[in-house]
Amino acid sequence: MDQSKIRNFCIVAHIDHGKSTLADRIIEQTGLLTSREMQAQILDNMDLERERGITIKAQTVRIVYQAKDGNEYIFNLIDTPGHVDFNYEVSRALAACDGAILVVDAAQGIEAQTLANVYLALDHDLDVFPVINKIDLPSAEPERVKNEIEDVIGIEAQDAPLISAKNGIGIEDVLEAIVEKIPAPGGSPDNPLQALIFDSVYDSYKGVIVFCRIKEGRVKKGTKIKMMATGATAEVVEVGYFGAGQFIPCDELAAGMVGYLTASIKNVKDTAVGDTVTDLENPCKEPLPGYKKVNSMVYCGMYPADGAKYPDLRDALEKLKLNDASLNYEPETSIALGFGFRCGFLGLLHLEIIQERLEREYNLDLVTTAPGVIYRVYKTNGEMTELTNPSNLPDPSEIDYMEEPVVSAEIMVTTEFIGPIMQLCQERRGRYVSTEYIEASRALLKYELPLNEIIYDFFDALKSRSRGYASFDYELKGYEQSKLVKLDILINHEEVDALSFIVHADSAYERGRKMCEKLKEEIPRHLFEIPIQAAVGGKIIARETVKAMRKDVLAKCYGGDITRKKKLLEKQKEGKKRMRQVGSVEIPQSAFMSVLKLDDD
């Protein structure tokens, strides 16, 4: 393979600016696929991804392009996840590329994620060229957007292809631009093997399939390899490249190529994204830069609604983990919910995806507790513990102080909404950093925000207070000391461990009150009165009461229609099954997520 005829690239864009659609068109027009093979969006092959219109796991495809210069080029299009939860995966996928296509919506222009992704690409020394998409929209302003790209990002945009990925307009220009503007890969096949892992999937026959970019050297069947960070070793069974939706074996992968290898590896833990693969017998001197261990940012408890399904949940998590090294879990027990798992995720979206997959693919009915971040608890005896489950908070007398994670956030917003957005950040204990005007009508607000203030509904609040115009990106900044307390909920005088959460002392009263109100709505009336109380450190700070059920009686069974009445009773009985019994009170499963909905109004 002539290295000069290879182009390794990705597409970066703000969500909804048309990344996946452009990828589809590129694949179509390079002619390796018939229309029949085309799924609606080839790169997003998980159902969930299609439904949400986002890419969760990077997929990659090798295609062949017959360029106008008469040569045949190999394109490796590396897809990148499109959500801030997966920033590290994005960075590793970018590191596998030599260039990037920047897609910008001709009507909306640059958004927060556009910037975040472009800067990420530039940080990885990628050659970036822009294309202006959706030029067929009536509101398209390609000239304005070109200027914006030049002004804000500082890359040449005047000759950017004007396209409509949806309608197949201008795709040829994009393909030619890939050949011209994206550099051929460097590296030498004669150097010791140095390959970057940018993704992996688990296959029950082949074991882990490692997606990698060969930076130096070569790898083929029989090569003994070593993962430099995890230290795992294995013997390569198969190498190949990515067809559309299938793995196509080949003899060898050499410097500059993108492909996969299998080596009967049993666990994705051994093939961490960002790790360097080298030849065990002829290793490279240094691993590739940029590897880091991915840490969970958000934790929650997951319990089977039916306690007997605990082993099923364990098996399902095990299977998901085979494919998702960033999912962490360990068993825990709750007095209210029984046996379950404390699970760690990259972010709330990641959490929701796992939850939905467990429910859909594994048919599990789950009770999920409110997600929280990892707090650092410094004890008076000098120890520090990381707290992922509020119930494990040590006695206040043992706590010296606590720290919470803080993020640096960038919010892109049209100037008319600066006021409401600043107010929102203020409410969420944000610390103002700066305002930068992108152009007369748009600004980039920078704030430092506690992570626990943004994991639930910050994004929704942002959208609603800016009528959808604000966009948002963040990265972890570090830990800061904070005045935190544990808010406990007592139902019928019994503390319900699964409802406890950590909150800033200043908002404890407000949150406690709202939580009680919310639970009052959620908990159905019982035969007796049920007090709902919020407490901090044993002191009650709010109370609501679910009144006793006064009346629940059937009307007449007219003309002996017993079946209809029985159906009503059955419905009542079914409803009861979806409840968790805590003491003598039945709590609906949804109540355990109540804390997420406190800001609905």
């Binding site: 035969l527 009686v553 002996g560 079946t563 059955e570 009542q572």
Partner: protein
């Protein structure tokens, strides 16, 4: 011989009341006539199935059955008498609404052997009546009641409702006073239930309903007041003077055999339940096809039909929701239907019927409700307490497996 009760559904009314979700609608005389003809056919064709039954009660319900010409009523009852064995003392009830019967019609009813009249009054407050869309006034009721007594009816039920929009304790008490002053033999007093799909349900914010506490106070007042006036509660919503409990009503709760004829009517015979089709066209086809199915059992076998025979018979005929009750389902029904009766359920009968003790099957549930004061033992039987009646759905639901 097994006892049989017959229910006949007349799905016609002058105008639909705002709270009504029963199968009923206004109709012209042509429509009524063709419906009566279908009913007669159905009764006739089915007679062969009930050779080993003796009819102990007949109930013509609706709708407003009194809209039928008296002659039609006579034809229906004659059809039953010609094909079925009807007990000499059978209770034969017709439902009527005030203002829909004349002196002649009522006398005709007596001639046809109808011996019980159920009058839908609901309230003696004309404002309350108008708000729920009733077609009559309190005055109309008084007139109908007088005519019925004059015609010779010695067993009259009056239907009442509590929890009506704009109804207060005072007006409800007045209704009880006025009605008991007339001394009907039987009083049914229901709480208004807002059923989905009714105009009252859809428009509930426009009305002022008594709250739950008032509703329960009304219920308690009903029991107290009627007891003083000589009526005892024999079922959650039914009160009667000594010897006048409605035989037909009790059949449903005691799980006796009953055959329902007419549109959408429900039946249960030998622990098989089914429903007639609820659409006119389907019902007509059902009646027409009845008895034309190939491979029918010889009549003699059919008459002595087992449960399995009933299932295949009704399925072949095209009935809806044909269901042979399992032992578990029979136990559930035994409890949640039987407990509607003030006398409650008899553990010995349970044992006889199912070969298992009630204690063994439901002991834990019963004990829990006894502790909470919702169930109580009365002379060896198990019954709801007053508080248990208030929340009877909770109790009943827990007897489902």
């Amino acid at each position: 011989m097994r006892e049989l009760s017959i229910y006949i559904h007349i799905p016609f009314c002058v105008r639909k009341c705002l709270y009504c979700d029963f199968l009923s609608a206004p109709a012209d005389s042509g429509r009524i006539e063709s419906y009566v003809n279908l009913l007669l056919q159905e009764i006739k064709k089915q007679a062969v199935f009930y050779g080993d039954h003796r009819v102990v009660s007949i109930f013509l319900g609706g709708g407003t059955p009194s809209l039928l010409p008296a002659a039609d009523m006579g034809r229906i009852l004659a059809q039953i008498r010609s094909g079925y064995s009807v007990a000499e003392d059978a209770e034969i009830t017709v439902e009527c609404n005030p203002g829909t019967v004349t002196e002649d019609k009522l006398k005709n009813y007596i001639t046809h052997g109808i011996n019980r009249l159920s009058i839908g009054l609901q309230s003696t407050d004309d404002g309350e009546l108008a708000r729920i869309g009733r077609i009559h006034s309190y005055g109309d009721f008084l007139e109908t009641y007088r005519l019925a007594r004059e015609a010779g009816f010695g067993n009259i039920n009056v239907d009442l409702m509590a929890g009506l929009p704009g109804q207060g304790m005072d007006s409800y008490r007045r209704t009880l006073e006025r009605v008991t002053a007339l001394s009907p033999e039987h009083i049914s007093a229901y709480s208004l239930i807002l059923e989905e799909g009714t105009p009252l349900y859809g428009n509930q914010s426009a009305y002022q309903f008594p709250d739950e506490d008032e509703d329960r106070e009304m219920y308690e007042l009903t029991g107290r007041y009627l007891a003083e006036a000589g009526y005892s509660r024999y079922e959650i919503s039914n009160y009667a003077r000594e010897g006048f409990a409605c035989r037909h009503n009790k059949v449903y709760w005691r799980r006796g055999d009953y055959a329902g004829f007419g549109l959408g009517a429900s039946s249960m015979v030998k622990n098989v339940r089914w429903k007639n089709p609820a659409k006119h066209g389907d019902y007509a086809a059902y009646v027409e096809n009845m008895g034309r199915q190939p491979g029918r059992q010889p009549d003699a076998d059919v008459a002595a039909g087992t449960e399995a025979v009933w299932v295949s018979r009704m399925e072949q005929a095209g009935a809806d929701e044909v269901q042979r009750l399992t032992t578990a389902e029979q136990m559930e029904e035994f409890m949640f239907l039987g407990l509607r009766l003030t006398e409650g359920v008899d553990p010995e009968e349970f044992q006889r019927m199912f070969g298992k003790s009630m204690e063994e099957v439901y002991g834990k549930t019963i004990a829990a409700f006894e502790r909470r004061g919702l169930l109580t033992r009365k002379e060896g039987r198990l019954a709801l307490t007053l508080r248990g009646i208030d929340v009877s759905n909770v109790v009943f639901a827990s007897f489902l497996f």
